[in-house]
Symmetry: C2
Subunit: 181 residues, 2 copies
DNA sequence: AATGCCATGTAACCGGTTACATGATTTA
DNA sequence: TAAATCATGTAACCGGTTACATGGCATT
């Protein structure tokens, strides 16, 4: 249940409206957490009900925009959660790997086209992450805070790169004749 | 929605009871898909209702054991699914990364203990995967089928190893003085 | 006979997803 | 002024998780 705390983190970094949060979310934690705008609005309402954030209409606003900021209780909650024991870490899931095993069991079934699409998609993601890295960490990484942020981004980069590498190997194997050695 | 097809794959490899499936699931696809016994029983009932598998009481059974086997329609469905276009691939999620960013935002909050627990857990998983690999692929990997199975396992190994490596780097950074460079 | 284990199952819940609505601003 | 866009929101659904139940077998 990381979404509320991911939102608190984003709001600690800078108070924002829901829509702005959705956009910033995408640029910071997106390699490892995601949320649709519906989730974000629902969760912001809960955070406010819990007394962890408070909202106010944006002054010279265009529409119904509301800006949220973290309260002291929210900061306390965030710090508490960071140190909390995670009993059952979320399991890794990757549908492509399930398909590869299925293909192994029943023989060639046109999986290669899907893998090529995946490689294209993941390469686009990788390029985006590398661009983030270039823009945000070009001048070096000097503080503890920046090192942590950089580590998260580098983890995302390494993870995507690994997925691409494995997909390429899968393509090579799939190209083999079904009963060939 | 990979669970039904992961089950079909397992059942194609060998007809089984629900409980045996749950155990074998754990040994084959566990790096990339998981299911509790409740999910498995629920899904088996659906597969049977769809006409993809059929079940019969186990002959000399101890209790209520039922054995499931894949029907021709189930095989067709599995092959269809393998080649199917995956529109929105499941996003990667990793709560530890969210915590690292939170820690970056609000300062030290005891995250290192949690990371050490994670490293221990992941190393146990890695050891298990390596043992699978030693037992199942020691004699070489000669056929296309075995190469695919091996690739899936190696992907699991590489993924876990990467997670351990990133966790170790995180520990090093967390050990820095909060405002130090 | 009592206890524990195992296979099978039911029920409730929850986070995440998808489809759709509404009122306002901006653009053509 | 009509059309497109944007921020905010409601509602339904679904896969996965958790808690609990039941009845048979094995062990003591």
């Amino acid at each position: 249940m990381s979404l509320p705390h991911a939102l608190l983190t984003s709001l600690v970094e800078r108070p924002s409206t829901g829509a702005e949060l959705a956009r910033r979310f995408d640029r910071s934690i997106s390699p490892f957490w995601q949320a649709t705008h519906q989730q974000i609005y629902r969760e912001l309402a809960r955070l406010e009900a819990a007394g962890w954030v408070r909202s106010a209409p944006v002054e010279d606003a265009h529409g119904r925009e509301r800006s949220y900021e973290v309260l002291a209780a929210g900061r306390r909650e965030l710090r508490r959660w960071i140190g909390e024991r995670e009993d059952k870490p979320r399991a890794v899931r990757d549908e492509l790997m399930v398909r590869l095993r299925a293909e192994a069991a029943v023989g060639p079934a046109g999986l290669d086209a899907e893998i090529r699409r995946r490689i294209e998609r993941e390469e686009a993601v990788l390029a985006r992450y590398l661009e983030y890295e270039r823009r945000a960490f070009a001048g070096g990484v000097d503080t503890r805070e920046r090192r942590l942020q950089h580590l998260v981004l580098r983890s995302g980069i390494r993870t995507v790169a690994l997925r691409i590498e494995m997909a390429r190997e899968a393509l090579e194997i799939l190209a083999m004749a079904p009963s060939g050695k």
